[in-house]
């Protein structure tokens, strides 16, 4: 199915356009997913911390 990687990448002369469109989409969505997951992870960490510290102690 991949006889000619070069032709595939060239996209009939529109390669730069097509690939940059996909790249931008991938980049934005990738960053969004990573940021979203990271935020959840760090928030869960602080939740654990806060729950351990409560109800009597300050969490600093």
């Amino acid at each position: 199915m991949m006889p000619d990687l070069g032709a595939f990448l060239a996209m009939g002369g529109y390669g730069a356009y097509v690939w940059s469109a996909y790249a931008i989409t991938g980049l934005i969505l990738g960053l969004l997913v990573v940021a979203t997951l990271r935020a959840r992870r760090s928030m869960r960490a602080s939740l654990d911390q806060a729950e351990q510290a409560s109800p009597r102690r300050r969490t600093r």
Binding site: V18, T36, A39, R40, M43, S46
Partner: protein, 249 residues
């Protein structure tokens, strides 16, 4: 405190229901987009008119659809929040906004890239393009207002009112812009496609649209989980704060 607990009750139920669904949604998004990419980039014919440039469509159009649907979701959530005072609706609205804005940016960026080979320019002030820009600003305005207040609740109430004003106005804006364009613009914009899309192109388009929509849902739910966790953290911190006060004068 009892009231605060009561307010957490609904979100807790939400978490119980949504969390187990997440892996399935993620898998669905991955499968749909993967298959969409395969059919879109490899296993579909180039468009007879636009050649391979038409493959941009498989990211552009789903992103644009999601951007539009996102604002509808935002407005509905805001209306629910305002009318039924459902706390979860506020959380949903606030979490939809950034995701929707990102999809709007993608639609604009990919459309712009597509426009260069097709129209010979990155941008024209045509009705649809202009209204997408306006949509982006509606999202950004909502986010900005949401963040502008020290007290989160105040920001939420303000942004809710704004979302509803925007929702009432959106059709009017859309109509005006369309109308404005048809009046002024006999512009030389090539219009592509029409309704008759080759089924070989329709399949990847639909797959990608499904994948993007699932991804949208996935992101929103995770953000809601994060937001709910953040609220609990704040509540716990404040409760702790109210109990201990060793060194105060």
């Amino acid at each position: 405190m009892a009231k605060a607990l009561h307010r957490l009750a609904n979100p807790a139920r939400f978490l119980r229901i949504a969390s187990p669904l997440l892996p399935w949604i993620a898998a669905g998004a991955a499968v749909c987009s993967g298959a969409g990419l395969w059919f879109g980039l490899v296993d579909s014919p180039p468009d007879y008119q636009q050649g391979d440039a038409a493959r941009i469509m498989y990211v552009h159009v789903p992103a644009a659809w999601n951007a539009l649907a996102g604002y509808a979701g935002l407005a509905i959530a805001s209306a629910v929040a305002l009318v039924w005072r459902h706390p979860l609706a506020l959380v949903a609205a606030r979490c939809i906004a950034p995701v929707g804005a990102c999809f709007t940016v993608i639609a604009i960026a990919t459309g712009s890239i597509w426009g260069h080979p097709m129209w010979g320019t990155w941008w024209v002030w045509d009705a649809r393009l202009t209204s997408v820009v306006v949509l982006l600003f509606l999202y950004l305005g909502y986010i900005a207002l949401l963040q502008a207040f020290d007290e989160q609740e105040t920001g939420e109430r303000a942004a809710t009112v704004l979302a509803l004003i925007g929702a009432v106005n959106l059709p009017v804006i859309k109509f005006s812009v369309d109308w404005w364009n048809t009046l002024h613009q006999p512009a030389s914009i090539l219009r592509f496609g029409g309704p008759s899309i080759d089924p070989a192109m329709l399949l990847p388009l639909m797959l990608m649209a499904g994948g993007f929509t699932l991804l949208f849902a996935y992101l929103v739910i995770i953000r809601m989980q994060t937001e709910l966790a953040r609220r609990r953290v704040m509540a716990l911190r404040r409760a702790a704060l109210a109990v201990s006060q060793p060194n105060d004068a």
